[in-house]
């Protein structure tokens, strides 16, 4: 295979390859034929959700006893890679559902919450969204103003709002992170499972996006939402809980971005070998060869980073800082690859018929969400210097 220059396949188990190949075949047949038009129309192809559930793509690394596939983390990463080979919006849907909604219910939820929600979320029958970011608190979530107040009977009243929420307008449940009982300190943050049909819950799609157009991004408003006592995720506590979710999601993103990069590289390589200019294929010119060599080199490096990180995660020894390095490197790499691929494609590179410009625009969101590139720089800076440069 053109994109397996370092025989990464040889480092994957038969089962991991089978999983990758099955997701790849599904993306080739179901996503690639429709995604260009869905992107132009600004439409998330939600008709794919039941199939994604049936195939086991949602929360795939969570245990089988909750209706999930129980895969290892390398397999989970390969699923994200293949989904984003299709489109970042499709992968974002799976990331949010699995890593940001199913994972906190699994990690911080009661047994009742897990049994009630996880099997139907794995099937894609219940869709989730994750509410952490607020209009004025993105990179600094500890400043959030969304507040839940406990009532005398143990129930809760929730007020506030969230922004840039993937799946927000189509979700059935939202995992909302809120401070509690008037305490402004981040240590009071708890997670709540909020049904989106609760009185006082509203979601509005954010319009005018030039990136992630095949994905729903919404603003959520909570006005005196009355939640029962068992809406709280009992084992959640402090900002650490949502950050643990983000570590899961960022891990998947480090693989996903590679899928987008590989799609761009393969597309422009094929084009370069066929497109004749000055009487020979443009792949025969040094400028394009350097472009292709740079893309290939960066993709191979990213593949090795993510595979090794996946093995560390499976061994239980990975750190959030290592995830930051992988997310920061791989997404930045993919944005560069997508841009160079678009340039190599020349005029056709601006068409939705080709994937490069769609990936290029998508990756600007991926660069910015789940910890901006800059925030990951500061996480790594703090890890190696011991000095906090956030504030």
């Amino acid at each position: 295979m053109t994109n397996d220059f370092f025989n990464i396949d040889g480092s994957l188990s038969e089962e991991e390859r089978a999983i990758r190949d099955s997701v790849r075949a599904w993306v080739n047949d179901r996503v690639l034929p429709i995604i260009g038009q869905a992107y132009v129309d600004g439409r998330f192809p939600k008709e794919l959700i039941p199939e994604m559930g049936a195939q086991g793509f949602l929360g795939a690394n969570l245990p089988e006893e909750y209706g999930c596939a129980g895969l290892n983390n390398v397999s989970y990463g390969l699923i994200m890679q293949e989904l984003e080979r299709g489109d970042s919006g499709i992968r974002s849907f799976a990331s949010v559902q699995g890593a940001l909604v199913m994972y906190p219910i699994y990690a911080f939820g009661s047994e009742e919450q897990k049994r009630r929600l996880l099997p139907s979320m794995a099937k894609g029958e219940t869709i989730g969204c994750f509410g952490l970011t607020e209009p004025d608190f993105g990179s600094n979530p500890s400043g959030m103003i969304t507040m839940a107040r406990e009532q005398a009977d143990g129930s809760w009243i929730l007020n506030g709002g969230k922004m840039w929420i993937t799946n927000g307008s189509q979700a059935h449940v939202s995992v909302v992170w809120a401070k509690t009982n008037g305490d402004p300190d981040a240590s009071s943050i708890r997670g709540f499972v909020v049904p989106t049909n609760s009185k006082g819950f509203s979601a509005r799609d954010q319009k005018g996006k030039l990136s992630l157009r095949a994905s729903d991004t919404s603003e959520l408003v909570f006005q005196d939402i009355h939640l029962p006592a068992d809406a709280i995720l009992p084992k959640s506590g402090g900002l650490k809980s949502p950050l643990m979710c983000l570590t899961q999601a960022r891990y998947g993103i480090s693989w996903g971005a590679m899928g987008a990069a590989m799609a761009c590289y393969e597309e422009c390589l094929a084009y370069a070998k066929n497109r004749v200019m000055f009487d020979k294929p443009i792949a025969g010119f040094q400028i394009q060869q350097e472009r292709l060599a740079d893309m290939l080199t960066e993709i191979v490096k990213a593949q090795l980073v993510s595979l090794h990180l996946g093995r560390l995660k499976d061994a239980g020894t990975f750190t959030p800082q290592q995830v930051s390095l992988a997310k920061r490197n791989n997404v930045s790499m993919a944005t560069d690859v997508a841009r160079e691929a678009r340039r190599l494609l020349g005029a056709v590179g601006i068409l939705a018929e080709y994937g490069a410009m769609r990936h290029m625009a998508n990756l600007e969101s991926v660069y910015t969400y789940e910890g901006t590139h800059d925030v990951h720089s500061l996480i790594l800076g703090q890890a190696v210097t011991g000095l906090n440069a956030f504030n």
Binding site: M1, E14, A25, Q55, L71, S75
Partner: protein
């Protein structure tokens, strides 16, 4: 409608669930460029990606759909070759087949009779109602193994089914023939081979892939028949000659038509 009622009666009367064997071959995926190995008689396998042969995949899917529709029965999958064919067998298990048999040999012989002999020895006495093949493998393209197995087992054979149904000791199949189609009826047990269009193979679900590891895989030495047919030499098609540009615009159309008629002889 009558057929459906008949089927229900058949199974509520306590008849044995249907047992289907599907014989599959591991072949290189065809979208890559091929090179001939140094021996000159085989394809260079370096860097090739392998999968279930296309028609065999349709057969696996058709078999699974039949047992699902009947609500009873199971599908066994069989392949012959070196240890790597177990990966291909596990893909069929991950699609939903119940058990696999690997007939082990170092090299898959080119002679279809050698292969058919080994498969027939395995299938004989297996109690199968139906033995299914793809109508041909997409690499060697002999299309002969299934026919020979039917002969060795003394069973009726329907080659190239585009539709297939079985019930109560008999089956019906549709075959696409030049200019039309034909519906055939046959008694069970039988051997059939599957044409494209019958069913699109499902994607193995991730749970199916995990479950496949726990399903039984029997490994037995392949009892190959005599090899009386070998490949002497392979070659690649000649490189296409460069095209010719006649010019631009309506003025060159008469010359283009003349060349298409007299030189290319296509119109």
């Amino acid at each position: 409608m009558g057929g459906t009622i008949f089927l229900v009666n058949f199974f509520t009367m306590g008849a044995a669930p249907v047992k289907i064997a599907v014989c599959i071959k591991r072949v290189p995926e065809m979208d890559g460029a091929f090179k001939i190995a140094a021996s000159g008689t085989a394809v260079d396998e370096t860097g090739l990606k392998w999968d279930i042969s296309d028609f065999d995949g349709y057969a696996v899917e058709a078999a699974l759909q039949m047992t699902e529709k009947l609500g009873a029965g199971e599908v066994h999958v069989i392949s012959l070759g070196p240890d790597v064919v177990q990966e291909t067998l596990r893909k069929a298990l991950s699609m939903g087949c119940a058990r696999a048999t690997h007939l082990k040999c170092d090299v898959v012989p080119f002679d279809p009779f050698a292969i058919a002999s080994a498969l027939a020895a395995e299938l004989q006495g297996g109690g199968y109602d139906l033995v299914m093949f793809g109508k041909m493998s997409i690499d060697s393209a002999n299309g002969a193994v299934g026919l020979m197995v039917a002969d060795l087992l003394g069973m009726p054979m329907v080659h190239g089914c585009s539709k297939l149904d079985i019930a109560a000791g008999a089956g019906t199949a549709r075959r696409e023939i030049e200019g039309g189609g034909e519906l055939v009826r046959f008694s069970l047990p039988a051997v059939v081979s599957i044409d494209e269009g019958i069913a699109r193979p499902r994607y193995p679900s991730l749970k199916g892939i995990m479950a496949a590891k726990k399903k039984p895989m029997d490994v037995k030495p392949a009892q190959l028949g005599p090899v009386r047919l070998t490949v002497q030499k392979m070659d690649l098609p000649a490189a296409r000659a460069a095209g010719r540009i006649l010019g631009e615009g309506a003025a060159v159309v008469p010359e283009l038509v003349r060349l298409l008629q007299q030189e290319a002889k296509v119109i």
